[in-house]
Symmetry: C2
Subunit: 231 residues, 2 copies
């Protein structure tokens, strides 16, 4: 009846080491788990928490709804897993940032532009954050994995500003978190409010022709702010 197992010969992964679970098995818990999370990330980001349907998520995986409850306990557990996964991915990509070799002004611009790129490359993440805010961040606040929090980009920013201040290039009355907020606000707004912005002003903030312009703008903006009254 069910032709689920059609290539079961491929299981020839003879390594009987108990080290790490090999991939590509007919029965593979990790694979099933990952697939559910991947589908659920799209569904939650697309429909919101209340709008997403467990049945729909299950239907879009190669497994069944029963597995969602088997692995995640329920809709809320799945959402939490999705949220934590999204934050972890962003955090990982942020840690690749290396601007120690650049002069403060250029480092700051690079940081802003990299943040800009991150938000462009991860639209699901921006939407999930918006959704989480609608729910007053109650899931994120009660998240057990504390390491999800704290953006590495903030530490990088702090060091850039220290260097800028020490060189007399930056204002000395600025908080790194304030500057981070400016950059985030710009990049998040572009992703999170693009649809009402388009409806109101007929300008698509994700239009490829606008991309370089906006990317340069956040750099100019933040540099102008931290160097205001200096030069």
């Amino acid at each position: 009846m069910t032709t689920r197992v059609d290539t079961n010969d491929v299981e020839g992964d003879q390594g009987m080491t108990a080290e790490s679970a090999p991939k590509e098995r007919v029965r593979d818990a990790e694979r099933t788990r990952a697939e559910i999370i991947e589908v659920a990330t799209h569904e939650f980001a697309d429909q919101g928490y209340a709008g997403a349907r467990v049945d729909e998520i299950a239907a879009k995986t190669r497994t069944t709804k029963r597995m969602i409850y088997y692995y995640f306990g329920g809709k809320e557990g799945l959402y939490l897993a999705v949220l934590e996964g999204a934050y972890q991915r962003i955090r990982a990509s942020e840690q690749e940032l290396d601007v120690e070799h650049l002069a403060p002004v250029e480092a700051l611009r690079r940081l802003a532009e990299t943040t800009f790129d991150h938000h462009e490359q991860h639209p699901d993440f921006v939407r999930l954050v918006a959704i989480e805010n609608i729910h007053y961040a109650k899931h994120l606040s009660s998240s057990s994995s504390r390491e999800v929090l704290a953006a590495p980009a903030l530490e990088v920013l702090s060091r850039i500003m220290e260097r800028g201040r020490a060189a007399g290039l930056f204002r000395d009355d600025l908080d790194a978190l304030d500057v981070h907020m400016i950059i985030s606000a710009f990049c998040v707004f572009r992703g999170a409010n693009r649809y009402t912005f388009k409806a109101m002003f007929d300008r698509d903030l994700f239009d490829p022709h606008l991309r370089d312009h906006l990317r340069a703008m956040i750099g100019d903006l933040v540099v102008a702010h931290v160097t205001a009254g200096r030069r």
Copy 2:
């Protein structure tokens, strides 16, 4: 049907008689309509579209669910009415803005701070916009009342920038819509992302002690940007 009840305004404060009679089943279509919209605005802003419950909205009014379907046709019609009402209120308050008598730099700062105040005073509006964006602004786009769109603040901004350019105070390569986006991004982010921001950095962007600081910051930021390279 227009001059039926004049003694009972929507927000009537007829406090001279007995404040509210226990059995006061007065028939007033406008009042019922307005009360439903008011309650629904809070519910949709609080729970999102899918999360809001028609039964719950009805229970929080002094009328029944039947009236929601009588006046608005259904959940979606009610949501649309809520959205249009919220935009109209914001638009009305924006039109009170008068900065013609101020010098360009001060006018720009005043505009930014007024926008800041608007967003602080209308948290429901900010949340509704976020929710509408989650739904790709499909309701706003298909809204029949086009006059809801187009922020008056943008026209005011355009004139300020013209004056600033003419006086040689502002850069001449800036678009008013870009500057509007910067101001909006900052003010919207503060309201829309305050919860995840608090969870991540333990800073409440609506803390009263932070208010004046942030209010000054958006002014400084936008002024620094439009005057960069001048003076």
